[in-house]
């Protein structure tokens, strides 16, 4: 994946799903760093 743009230039899948109000907001903040990064295999 070429990915040298900032989020201001190019939104992620989750960004657009959030804007469409289909992601439960409460899921997004708590422990996001932890759940996204942990145990990269």
């Amino acid at each position: 994946m070429e990915n040298n743009e900032t989020r201001e230039d190019s939104a992620t899948v989750l960004d657009e799903l959030e804007s469409l109000e289909v992601v439960e907001a409460s899921e997004l903040e708590e422990g996001a760093a932890f759940h996204a990064f942990r145990f990269a295999i």
């Binding site: 899948v13 439960e24 295999i41």
Partner: protein, 607 residues
């Protein structure tokens, strides 16, 4: 009739940690050393044993979930137990992608082990001791205690050595010690490992410590366990802290006296990495040994750094490749001496062994040498784990990291060019860091995101024995509080809060503000070299649409909600734009087609 002779020493790696990918190396190293010196020694990894036990349907059924997500995950795991076990533990080709199975198992362990007597928040050492005596009112703790009793009773060792590598193991370690004293009162129980090197004296000063254990070993375990294994009375073994005080200075030990580690007794092929990984070390400590935030470094600079020769390391690699059948070596040094490791690997390959390997090191000047980097790849290096704190030279110099920020971009590009995956552990909260420097550090990661992966994001912790804690001259820009103020950790960033240390108070922006800078890095850097990508890290396709979507088995629809058990995300089914037609969803509008296209990109199903 003669009684069967007792095992001299049994070593245990206690729960509860994320170290489930391959065996923690301390046990196999100590066991092989003891056997080599005529002491009978065996080993148990209670952490992976507990993981395997909690994955069984009877344990999963017993757990009472307190929310929809946990309940759905547990039901799925009970129904699909065989599939998960065969995929993740047995590495069988089941049709379930390994990375999905692995993530589901990890989530299950979070559910089973969260909020248990084994995993209380650790705010003080005295709290750890108190927690170790808490009743087993939860499923995980009950199974843990049963397993612990079995280990102690079945091995009937004269000495039980418990190796505590991570703070989250302190409570389970003391719990295990307590059980051992109840089941086999004549067993000598000794705690050692990294956490005891950091906190041994502080633990020894806690009231009650020696009600659980006979001794704490705060140095290298080999000489201590050898003496105990040979029957030397506890108080005559140098290098211990006991209820009566220290037993004298530890006997020096050098890594070169260790034979190759022995892994028998551990479920080597059933750890949770996609293929068995063989952990090895080439050194003890860090040859640089000057980074002020690092507890290993300070200990190394007192003359304690040790390394093997290329020949010795090559012999260890060759012997353990043969005994384990592994084809991937994880060099788990604190900081690999890359020339040493590469030379040893080339020796082993010249003897006819093909394998790939990973390293842990800094982004040091040597890695600007293109021919060296390509030589590493040619010799099988595929993964390099590196700590990234900042790209501001001013700050790197302040923490005495000993690397040049102006070489980072070149090194990252060279590793990418060669085919060695770079994985960063990103640290926030450097002393005196300004918001602008934090932003520029993040922008470096954003610019290079396609060339790197990220393993972890965590705030700096002032661990005991780090220069930052021990010498006031390294405390510019912050105040390190005394131990009596309690423990600070990485709650929200690391598993069971990760590292624990002294509380830091920053000049200028607060720790919480600095943590917010780090969270912004997590939010905005989309690492391209992580094997699996959270939907937060996937760039959307502007044109993705789907008329219908078959949901993956791990995405469960309950009324108007889709629960993605893999990424712990919940999505709403907007009925005005889509309908539910098992096994999936059908779009009913243009916007619905877009939503289904994005759902597919988020990994919820196939169109």
């Amino acid at each position: 009739m003669t009684q069967p002779s007792r095992t001299d020493v049994h070593m245990v790696f206690p729960g509860v940690t994320e170290a489930r990918l391959f065996p923690y190396l301390s046990l196999p190293m100590l066991v092989s050393y003891l056997r080599d010196h005529g002491v009978t020694a065996t080993q148990t990894d209670l952490n992976i044993t507990l993981t395997h036990r909690l994955l069984r349907p009877d344990a999963l059924r017993e757990h009472l979930a307190d929310n929809d997500f946990d309940r759905t995950l547990l039901s799925f795991a009970v129904e699909q137990h065989e599939l998960l076990w065969r995929t993740v533990v047995e590495k069988a080709d089941t049709g379930l992608p390994f990375d999905v199975g692995f993530r589901l198992v990890s989530n299950l362990m979070d559910v089973m082990l969260g909020k248990t007597a084994l995993t209380p928040p650790l705010t003080s050492l005295s709290g750890a001791l108190t927690s170790a005596a808490a009743p087993a009112n939860d499923v995980a703790t009950r199974y843990h205690d049963q397993l612990a009793q079995t280990v102690v009773a079945d091995t009937a060792a004269r000495v039980l050595g418990i190796s505590v590598a991570f703070p989250s193991q302190l409570v389970p370690a003391f719990r295990l010690a307590r059980i051992a004293k109840r089941v086999a009162p004549d067993t000598t129980v000794v705690l050692g490992g990294q956490q005891l090197m950091l906190r041994g004296a502080a633990l020894a000063a806690q009231p009650g410590t020696f009600e659980y254990v006979d001794a704490l070993a705060t140095g290298q375990g080999e000489p201590v366990l050898l003496d105990l294994g040979k029957g030397t009375p506890l108080h005559s073994v140098p290098g211990l802290l006991t209820a009566e005080g220290p037993t004298g200075g530890a006997i020096p030990h050098h890594l070169s006296r260790n034979p190759p580690p022995e892994f028998d007794g551990l479920p080597f092929t059933s750890y949770l990495s996609p293929a068995p990984q063989l952990p090895l070390i080439s050194c003890v400590g860090c040859y640089w040994g000057r980074c002020t935030f690092c507890s290993y470094g300070n200990r190394s600079r007192k003359g304690a750094y040790q390394q093997l020769t290329q020949q010795e390391l090559a012999d260890h690699v060759e012997a353990t490749l043969c005994t384990t059948g592994s084809s991937f070596v994880a060099f788990v040094d604190e900081n690999c001496n890359l020339r040493l490791v590469l030379g040893a690997v080339e020796l082993v390959r010249a003897r006819g062994h093909a394998f790939t390997w990973s390293t842990r090191n800094r982004l040091e000047p040597l890695l600007t040498d293109r021919s060296f980097v390509h030589r590493m790849y040619a010799a099988g290096c595929r993964l390099m784990s590196v700590g990234y704190e900042t790209n501001a030279q001013r700050l790197l110099d302040a923490v005495d990291k000993g690397v040049r920020a102006d070489q980072y971009e070149e090194i990252v590009a060279l590793l990418d060019e060669a085919g060695i995956v770079l994985r960063l552990s990103v640290m926030g909260g450097l002393p005196d860091e300004t918001e602008r420097e934090a932003r520029e550090s993040r922008e470096f990661l954003i610019r290079n995101a396609h060339r790197l992966g990220i393993d972890a994001a965590q705030m700096m912790i002032a661990e005991p024995t780090a220069l930052l804690v021990e010498q006031a001259e390294h405390q510019g820009g912050l105040t390190v509080l005394g131990a009596e103020a309690g423990l600070q950790s990485n709650q929200g960033f690391s598993y069971l809060s990760g590292r624990h240390g002294h509380i830091i108070e920053y000049a200028g922006a607060s720790r919480e503000e600095r943590a917010a800078w780090l969270r912004e890095t997590v939010r905005t850097v989309l690492p391209g070299k992580n094997d699996e990508k959270h939907p937060r890290w996937k760039q959307r396709s502007a044109t993705a649409t789907a008329a219908r979507l078959a949901l993956h088995p791990w995405v469960v629809q309950i009324e108007d909600t889709l629960i993605d058990l893999r990424w712990r995300l919940r999505y709403r089914v907007r009925r005005e734009h889509m309908t539910v037609e098992p096994p999936g969803l059908v779009a009913r509008s243009e916007l619905g087609r877009r939503m289904l296209g994005l759902f597919e990109e988020a990994g919820l199903g196939n169109s």
